[in-house]
């Protein structure tokens, strides 16, 4: 499809360009600036969460407790997950949504720009709360130990925790509000701000992916907020929602948590699938295979994802009927997942591929995410899961799902759009080195965890018996290499922002094939105010 639009939007007389200095950022209502802030926030949190991961791998390098006490270790495990999920993947995906959705659908900005500002600025506040929750035992001695529950915050352990837990709860509240506001904004933008000729079925897959993501977030975030509020009441106001001694039920919290938590994994996954839906056709120079099937597939995934939460709780002792239901539901998720992966493979099929960095990540995602799907089906089988549950096997499964499925998708997006965002081409050679370095070290880190898990190593332990030593040594070495590779990532980004070869409007040859967005009709970087007149998709 070809596109006609005005390139010269910015000669508009009242179009005064960005405000100067700090006000540009603090008061920003511009979707590109807010998108940039989201992305930098996510980048910062990537290193913060990554530092905790490095600590975890250092502690597990050898049997014995070497670096700190077990409570501190568990605190790092807890906050590593919270930071990566809420502080890194979600904001990075939201940053891309902010930057790209208006550009793709031909809108001048998000539908609710001031709300957009608020939903971003809640994040740093939440991050401060989270940091306070780590520091609480030292800042306020005598108020209890670190938050040591793991990211699932399960009571009764979370009732025993000190005031660090209260800071964590407040952080989750703020993160949740931020996500809900951002989601409302995204849904509204997609429904109301499209250029008149941009019908829903012409939208790029990334926009569809975020549409479902946002709906999921609006549906499940309040449930998490409710659950942690009940936790707060149990901790301080004498209620017993989760205390059997007072007539409550500790398992109720798990149901509430996972009613949020399972859809959450699709919240992390879908935006990256959206990126794949652009990257693969671009570099295969061929339209997306099964565009409609992908859109419906994502819809089915979102719906199914909301009714299988208890597969995280196969061992809590549900009725035979309920367990069977959750098992079959979960196994069926492999249908939309398989359909998606098939569509990407057939997009490459009979194409004409080149292997720029985003494409390399795209191919790696398809391969490694399939593997996560396979271990996912293994886990879905209840009696077998009764063996795997809470072992390193689960850790391996969800890192194969989340690092390729979510994080690599974000990297693919970063490299795909960096020329558009900055106006400069990144260094392709360094990009490729970064790809091989992360992918290989990722596999060295997490593949052995399948074995240590099957052999029986539990997750969230600070110390292990020596039969697991070899697997952990390999994992730790891989982990350090994986961590180190991100310094190169940082370097590439800084280098690209600071200069380099000028990027054309359409940096990728194939980016106009199939269902592309309108972003390629704008210069790189796009003007501060874009699409002040609605473009026309022909």
């Amino acid at each position: 499809m070809s596109v006609a639009t005005a390139h010269d939007d910015h000669h508009d007389s009242h179009d005064h360009g960005p405000p100067k200095g700090w006000q540009r950022w603090v008061y920003s209502t511009n979707h590109k600036d807010i998108g940039t802030m989201y992305l930098f926030f996510a980048l910062f949190m990537l290193f913060f969460g990554g530092a905790m991961a490095m600590y975890i791998r250092a502690e597990l390098f050898m049997p014995g407790v070497q670096l700190a006490n077990p409570d501190f270790y568990n605190n790092m495990v807890t906050d590593h997950a919270l930071v990566m999920v809420f502080g890194m993947v979600m904001p990075a995906a939201a940053g891309m949504a902010n930057w790209m959705i208006p550009l793709m659908i031909g809108a001048p900005d998000m539908a609710l720009p001031r709300l957009n500002n608020l939903s971003f600025w809640l994040l740093p506040a939440a991050a401060i709360m989270l940091i306070l929750s780590i520091l609480a035992p030292y800042l306020f001695p005598g108020t209890g130990g670190p938050v040591n529950t793991g990211w699932t915050l399960l009571p009764p352990l979370s009732i025993q925790n000190g005031i660090g837990m209260d800071f964590t709860i407040f952080a989750i509240h703020m993160l949740g509000i931020s996500s809900i506001l951002a989601s409302i904004n995204i849904v509204t933008t997609i429904l109301n701000m499209r250029a008149p000729t941009m019908t829903m079925m012409k939208m790029p897959l990334f926009v569809w992916a975020w549409f479902f993501t946002a709906l999921l977030l609006i549906a499940v975030m309040p449930v998490l907020a409710g659950a942690v509020t009940m936790l707060l009441f149990d901790r301080h106001f004498g209620t017993s929602f989760f205390d059997a001694a007072g007539g409550g039920d500790p398992i109720l919290f798990q149901h509430l948590f996972w009613f949020f938590g399972h859809p959450e994994v699709y919240v992390l996954l879908l935006p990256s699938i959206g990126v794949l839906g652009l990257v693969i056709p671009t570099f295969a120079r061929k339209p997306l295979f099964g565009y409609k099937a992908l859109v419906y597939g994502m819809g089915v995934l979102a719906v199914l994802g909301m009714v299988v939460w208890a597969h995280h709780q196969y061992t809590i002792g549900m009725s035979l009927w309920a367990t069977n239901y959750f098992m079959i539901g979960t196994i069926l998720i492999s249908i939309p997942v398989g359909l998606m992966l098939m569509n990407f493979i057939f997009t490459m099929w009979r194409g004409s591929m080149t292997f720029e960095t985003p494409m390399l990540f795209g191919i790696a995602i398809i391969l490694m995410f399939s593997f996560a799907g396979v271990t996912g089906v293994m886990l879905a089988v209840v009696p077998a899961d009764m063996q795997y549950h809470d072992t390193m096997f689960v850790v391996a499964h969800f890192h194969y799902a989340l690092i390729p499925g979510a994080v690599f998708g974000l990297y693919a997006g970063v490299f795909y759009w960096l020329p558009k965002w900055t106006g400069h081409m990144y260094d392709e050679r360094l990009g490729k080195i970064f790809f091989w370095w992360t992918t290989i070290s990722f596999n060295i880190t997490f593949f052995p965890q399948h074995f240590s898990g099957l052999a029986g190593m539990p997750r969230r332990i600070v110390d292990y018996s020596i039969q697991y030593t070899e697997f952990n040594v390999i994992s730790s070495i891989g982990g350090f290499l994986f961590g180190l590779s991100h310094l190169l990532f940082l370097y590439i980004i800084i280098q690209t922002i600071r200069g380099g070869q000028k990027a054309p409007d359409k940096p990728w040859e194939g980016s106009q094939i199939g269902t592309p967005g309108l972003e390629w009709t704008l210069p790189s970087p796009p003007p501060f105010h874009s699409f002040t007149q609605a473009p026309v998709v022909k």
Partner: protein, 376 residues
């Protein structure tokens, strides 16, 4: 078992497909689930191998397709993109074909899984019933029909020992060839009693009872641990079962009962104990039950577990009554358990006496079993 692991990742990568495709359980290499030693875990193991093999085949197919595509459809080999591929016959029907194939695989896995699940949930009459109670941080086993109680604590070993973190002072003893039913519960937070060779996991929930079972086929010692994060001591909660022949099991039971009877008689007799006796016994009880949190020198862990050395309740000025009270009743909302139901009067008297007179504490008083009885 341990030394063979040295082959590391390359061997692991090679062995995975090999081992899995030939269906060989590489239990001694520790790459797979441990070799099952019970009827039920055998059934689960077979199911696991089924899904692993199906998964491996799918991965091989997916990988082959991608590798072929990367080879055949590359720009620099002059491949011309087929812009109409998605409109071909295949493009029109693939969205039905592929899901139908996947559905077929799914349903055959699900039906086989469902029948194994029914075996897991089978509630036939058991020969032996054991209540497994998790607490921070040890396991207590109660034989429901015999009034025997076994408390399993981590056995402290050097990190170089093959059994580091895998051994306990007093394992659970079970007969082979009989149906054993486990009732799982907890006294404080969630725990999860897991021994893969003999039993599928169900979690231990305070205030609730979960059920699982086993029928052990091979004599031997089976080792597992706690699988649900239960706080600071989570890594230090091994679960060990010694499976013996039914005859040996009977003999063990008789011995235990005699020992129990003697200990109970001793604890409840109105005998007044000498301070030295109480101190010696108290140290034993402390090491077994209290040390994990309050530490060897009673220094606790600042901010997490209170120090007993120089503590307000445990030292000179504090009344022994408060001290006894917190040990017997615990402190709700914290990791401090109520020890009243777990220890007898003599044990509590001994440990309180020990705490009040160790690590520089100068209370000097001696607490007798009858004081505890009165405080209960």
């Amino acid at each position: 078992m341990v030394s063979k692991n040295k082959t590391g990742l390359p061997a692991a990568l090679l062995l995975l497909p090999l081992g899995l495709l030939t269906g060989v359980a590489r239990a001694d290499y520790g790459y797979n689930l441990p070799e099952p030693a019970a009827t039920l875990t055998q059934e689960i193991f077979d199911l696991h191998m089924l899904t692993t093999i199906v998964g491996t085949i799918i991965m091989v197919i997916v990988t082959a397709m991608i590798v072929y595509a990367l080879y055949a459809f590359r720009h620099d080999k002059g491949a011309v993109p087929d812009q109409e591929f998605h409109n071909s016959w295949f493009g029109q029907w693939a969205w039905v074909l592929v899901p139908v194939i996947v559905l077929g695989i799914d349903l055959s896995i699900a039906s086989s899984a469902s029948s194994t699940l029914s075996s897991v949930e089978d509630r036939s009459k058991a020969d032996v019933t054991v209540k497994v109670i998790g607490s921070q941080w040890k396991w207590t086993y109660e034989y429901m029909d015999d009034g025997i109680k076994v408390v399993s604590n981590l056995k402290k070993l050097e990190p170089t020992d093959p059994l580091y973190l895998r051994d306990v002072d007093d394992p659970l003893v079970l007969p082979t060839g009989q149906r054993v039913r486990f009732l799982l519960t907890s006294s404080d937070v969630l725990h999860n009693w897991g021994i893969a060779e003999i039993v599928p996991k169900k979690i231990n929930i305070p205030g609730y009872i979960n059920e699982t079972w086993t029928h052990i086929t091979k004599e031997g010692t089976y080792r597992g641990q706690c699988y649900e994060n239960c706080g600071a001591g989570h890594a230090f909660m091994p679960a060990v079962v010694r499976a013996v022949s039914p005859a040996e099991y009977q003999q063990w039971k008789t011995e235990r009962k005699t020992q129990h009877a003697q200990a109970a008689a001793e604890a409840s007799s109105d005998k007044v104990w000498a301070k030295e006796e109480l101190m010696a016994k108290g140290q034993e009880v402390y090491t077994k039950n209290c040390l994990a949190c309050h530490q060897a020198q009673g220094q606790g862990i600042p901010g997490v577990f209170p120090a007993l050395a120089g503590g307000k309740i445990t030292n000179g000025a504090g009344a022994a009554a408060d001290h006894i009270n917190i040990v017997v009743k615990g402190k709700t909302g914290t990791a401090m358990a109520a020890w009243g139901p777990q220890l007898n009067d003599l044990d509590i008297a001994a440990v309180v006496t020990f705490e009040r007179n160790s690590w520089g504490n100068t209370a000097g008083d001696v607490v007798q079993p009858k004081d505890i009885k009165a405080a209960r």
